[in-house]
Symmetry: C2
Subunit: 512 residues, 2 copies
């Protein structure tokens, strides 16, 4: 393979192949392409998609370095016509490319290259469907933030503070006149409202191409794209399509997005508010993902009220919306025990001041919930809903951050990265009035690492005792003021003086 | 009854009669007096007690105005010898004397004269056993506070920050040398420790006389004395006396204190930590109260971990210590439904900064718990545990207050007093993200009064709608900043602008 013209793709990068093929009828349904990619370690079949302009594309994410062969086939009903063969070289991953995120041990994540991944997520439901300027602003904000996961939608969003038009629609057609909408009447436009005329079998490839640009922009920032494929906040009818239309949509999405390494699948936001869907529907979509995403990206489904049964084998991690106003992150222990999967608290209320109870907690409380969740072995999620003169709320539109909690997540991320091994577990030996995390897989009676968190409590000191022999390095972390004080090395029974303020953590690490 | 020398006692005041009687052996056990008091509306038998110096006393609280007759009898085993007869006149209650507190309706209290009583309690376990100066200071603090109930003990307290000697002991004898105690070793002195020599059948009347002075000083301030008769924080052996010794103690306490109208009985603090007592013991003490307190003062028993069965008929109200670190006042609804009795949250953690998780919440959180409990139809309790150079912590010793929450209770008390009828109930019609109280006995679909509380949430506005006809006066209450803003009169659908800060309440009252 000394041919200098050989195509190269980096490991976990995305190879895209195109073929021109004229079609009779609807090019989205009348025919398609697929391709088989093979190297000594894997053979993968990838579905293609129609991208407009008589062009079919197929994408592939290689997982092994070295030479790959591929064959493209045109499918027309049950007939398959070979179109093209070729090869390419998979070169080593570039810096910052660690591969897709996987479940590394029962409760935690790592990138495919083994680097631990500690999700610090946020939610901007339709940041991707805003203006170029807003999107640029959002990406800049994300770049400066500690976020490494963001949840967002493919379909536009119709909801309080979300009455405008998206930048584009996923289907050919015309939407209803949105100028009739007001803060008072918008709830009456629910599901498919009068005046919407969409051809639900004709996608607008530009809508999806744009979302791909967003996914790749996130990838460049090292941020996972937790894609919400369906949601109930709808006036156009996208939430109540037929089973056949849904399947066409799912397969289009899967064919287009699966080969991006930073994609996660969220089947739906608040699935239980999508009244027209049944359990059988959800299990059907899950089956489509399992069939047509050959890379096994992470999969979950997010509730409003009742959790989906996170025991289902296709669910890789719990994507939780808190069910109780008061106890949120505190329930991580119990969720871990119940589901034996990573617990991601994708919504624990948003920092802000809007009228809705899910969108007006303080920065202190959000930060507290983050630490509380993290020190119980779970993964909290952020969002912001501050009143804004132009109704630009981070939670939906992105833009800039106005809250206080996000500034504190860099520290949490840095502390999480200091965890020996992969992930924290709640320590059963801690006292009734403290939360303490230890390394998930440290089964020794005296652990190598303890991360105590005192939440809203304000002790002026705490006494510790692990054993008589081990020396420990002690750091006092003010999670709100973002200070870390080195307190030196201790052994046996020892006391750590604290400032009598809330939101303190104490990191105790075996001194080697 | 024109005789100017006739004794007078005010209604719900305390009449005390004394007789001299020499006795053989132990005057506390060898004989006693009792007296029968009668007027047309009641006949009450009151047990007497030995008060030292060959003097037996008997006390009586009359409940009806007019002339009473009494007969005193000397009891010696089963023999009864008439000692004295007489009469007195019960005059109207003086200002501020509303009689003992009773359960007025299922969930709330009123004084016997019908005035609603909204408990705003605090805890100073052994304020009564401190120096005269400290006691005076405590009374001054109470006078300026909104507290109208205080929990405290008869027995001295041995515990962290409580290692000193009480001002007196309830029994003749000598205590162990307390100079050996340190913060490190005090836990080893538990129950009856070596070196204590008390005669558990010989009371020290001065100890009890002093406590009576304290009860009366509280009465003068309009404060209920929630007397903790037994408790586990002991090094002298008072927590592990024999059944017979306990009974002698209970009857002595009942004979001495029952006739004070502001007395409540708390059988024990953290009854479940008194390992030597059984359920049968507790039920036995309850029976003694029911037998020897002829005035039916309020009765409860306070837990550490498991609640006592508050369904028991002798329990007049729940005296709750929160079982969960995070959810405390929020559980009032469920406690009301479970026990169908007034819910008094006597311990929901203390404001402070000591090392223990039960003693280091913020003033904000304490105030929040107070409003949260009150707006759910329950009664929160306060305590303070701030580190102090001389270990004077309000929670045990009284003295002065150092926290922030207590300043906010005057406002809560004033708002509670505005409740139409007696007591607040959680409103079932409120939205998922608010707490709202309505008058307990207002069963109309549109209530005369709504008290909304937004807790840690920070809405910038809320919309309300009750009906199209009723006009409502709206006040916005900042429970932390202690401001009340009159917002005027509204009808139909209306919006109330709020500052987007935590701890806001909205009072909505029918405009007459």
């Amino acid at each position: 393979m000394s041919d200098v013209s050989v195509k190269t793709v980096e490991k976990w990068g995305c190879l895209e192949l195109s073929v021109k093929a004229g079609a009779e009828g609807n090019p989205f349904t009348s025919q398609n392409i697929k391709a088989v990619f093979s190297c000594p370690q894997e053979t993968v079949t990838a579905e293609g998609f129609y991208d407009g302009d008589n062009t079919y594309k197929v994408r592939f994410m290689p997982s092994f370095e070295g030479s790959y062969q591929y064959k493209i086939v045109l499918k027309n009903g049950s007939e398959e016509e070979p179109l093209e063969e070729g090869s390419f070289c998979c070169v080593p991953a570039s810096e910052g490319n660690h591969g897709p995120v996987r479940v590394a041990n029962t409760f935690h994540f790592a990138y495919e290259d083994g680097t631990p991944y500690y999700p610090i997520g946020t939610t901007c439901y339709v940041w991707d469907l805003q203006s170029d300027e807003r999107i640029e602003e959002t990406l800049q904000t994300l770049k400066e933030s500690a976020f490494n996961k963001i949840r967002f939608c493919i379909f536009p969003k119709h909801y309080d503070y979300n009455l405008g038009e998206p930048r584009s629609y996923p289907y050919e057609g015309t939407p209803m006149d949105s100028s009739v909408l007001t803060k008072e009447n918008f709830m009456q436009y629910n599901g498919k409202a009068e005046g919407n005329h969409f051809d639900l079998s004709s996608f607008r490839p530009d809508h999806f191409r744009h979302i791909e640009k967003c996914i790749l922009a996130l990838q460049k920032l090292g941020i996972e794209a937790d894609i919400i494929v369906m949601h109930p906040y709808d006036r156009w009818g996208f939430s109540c399509m037929t089973r056949e239309q849904d399947e066409l949509y799912w397969r289009y999405v899967l064919a287009r997005f699966s080969a991006f390494r930073n994609v996660w699948w969220s089947l739906a936001n608040e699935y239980d508010l999508m009244w027209s869907k049944t359990l059988e529907d959800w299990e059907g979509y899950a089956k489509l993902i399992c069939t047509y995403d050959p890379y096994h990206h992470l999969r979950s489904i997010h509730n409003c009220r009742p959790f989906y049964d996170h025991h289902r084998p296709w669910i890789t991690h719990c994507s939780i919306q808190r069910q109780d106003i008061y106890k949120t992150a505190e329930l991580v222990n119990q969720l871990r025990e119940t589901y034996m999967k990573p617990v991601v608290l994708d919504e624990i209320a948003y920092e802000g001041n809007i009228q809705h109870g899910w969108g007006n907690i303080s920065g202190e409380e959000m930060t507290r919930r983050f630490w509380e969740a993290a020190c119980r072995g779970g993964y909290p999620g952020h969002g912001e809903t501050f009143m804004h003169p132009e109704n630009v709320l981070w939670w939906s539109h992105g833009g800039t951050l106005h809250g206080e909690s996000h500034k504190r997540f860099h520290l949490l991320r840095d502390i999480l990265k200091e965890t020996p091994g992969i992930g924290l577990a709640p320590w059963e030996g801690c006292r009734w009035d403290e939360v303490c995390a230890v390394p998930e897989q440290d089964i020794r009676p005296v652990k190598s690492y303890y991360l105590f968190y005192y939440s809203f409590m304000r002790p002026s000191f705490r006494d510790y005792y692990f054993d008589d022999e081990t020396s420990f390095e002690v750091k006092v972390i003010d999670t709100w003021e973002m200070t870390v004080e080195n307190r030196g090395v201790f052994k046996g029974k020892f006391r750590v003086e604290l400032p009598g303020k809330p939101y303190m953590a104490v990191q105790i690490r075996k001194h080697e």
